[in-house]
């Protein structure tokens, strides 16, 4: 299963709300290995969550 970047961004968002399946995780890992744009996006998604936790005093 070859992900497009659009699909990858949807999975990266979903990963914050549920556990990805083994297939989804594998497909995302492969995509991130070859796609710098999505690696950047991945970092930004994790940063966003850290920022929100800080904002809401949830740390």
């Amino acid at each position: 299963m070859n992900l497009s970047c659009k699909e990858a961004t949807r999975l990266m968002s979903a990963a914050q709300d549920r556990e990805l399946s083994i297939g989804e995780r594998a497909a995302l890992k492969v995509h991130l290995a070859v796609c710098k744009g999505c690696r950047i996006f991945d970092d930004q998604m994790h940063f966003l969550r850290r920022a929100l936790r800080r904002l809401f005093g949830q740390e």
């Binding site: 497009s4 970047c5 659009k6 699909e7 961004t9 949807r10 968002s13 979903a14 914050q16 709300d17 549920r18 796609c35 710098k36 744009g37 999505c38 950047i40 996006f41 970092d43 930004q44 998604m45 940063f47 966003l48 969550r49 850290r50 920022a51 929100l52 800080r54 904002l55 809401f56």
Partner: protein
């Protein structure tokens, strides 16, 4: 009801109000919810006995009141979708094969921003800028920590619609922070 307990509960009103306003965005409804929560807390002093943290307990009561208020307003208001970004809004970042047209710019090591008050203010403004329905789902998820099944149930949405709202929220926030902080 002990006077101390009443005073301690009342002292938490401002914090609870901030919490509720973040969720509900409507000040009046937020105030009503906080008032209901405080009254419930005062009536339930006996059930607080022995618990460690008054604020945590009170916040728990408040969360229920907030969710009830959201359910009520969902029924009363129709979200006509005018304020919601259409499906194509974030699709525009990708070409017809789903690849980034332009990579998002690297924010480098952004965690330094977390120490800056102005950054937190920018983040709050970005949250406030989310369309109503999107904000509602997102806040239930990130602020109240509900899982998506619960959010779908509370807002009367299909699972797909839920995922889409959360996705749009994250895409919008990312874009907003990029525009208003990282690319100033």
């Amino acid at each position: 009801m002990t006077a101390d307990f009443r005073a301690e509960v009342e002292a938490l009103r401002p914090q609870l109000l901030r919490y509720a306003t973040l969720e509900l965005r409507d000040r009046e409804t937020a105030e009503d919810c906080v008032q209901e929560a405080l009254l419930a807390a005062l009536a339930g002093e006996a059930s607080f006995e022995g618990r460690a943290n008054l604020r945590t307990w009170l916040t728990g009561i408040l969360k229920h009141k907030i969710v009830d208020a959201m359910r009520r307003s969902s029924r009363e208001r129709t979200f006509d979708g005018e304020d919601e970004q259409g499906a194509s809004h974030f699709d525009r970042l990708f070409d017809e094969r789903g690849h980034w047209i332009e990579f998002p710019p690297d924010w480098g090591e952004p965690d330094g921003a977390l120490e800056q008050k102005q950054f937190m203010q920018a983040l709050e403004r970005c949250l406030a800028g989310l369309p109503a329905r999107t904000a509602q789902a997102f806040m239930l998820r990130e602020h109240m920590g509900l899982d998506t099944d619960e959010i779908c149930k509370q807002l009367g949405l299909t699972a797909t619609h839920c995922w889409v709202l959360l996705y749009r929220a994250r895409m919008a926030l990312r874009e907003c922070l990029e525009k208003h902080w990282f690319r100033r």
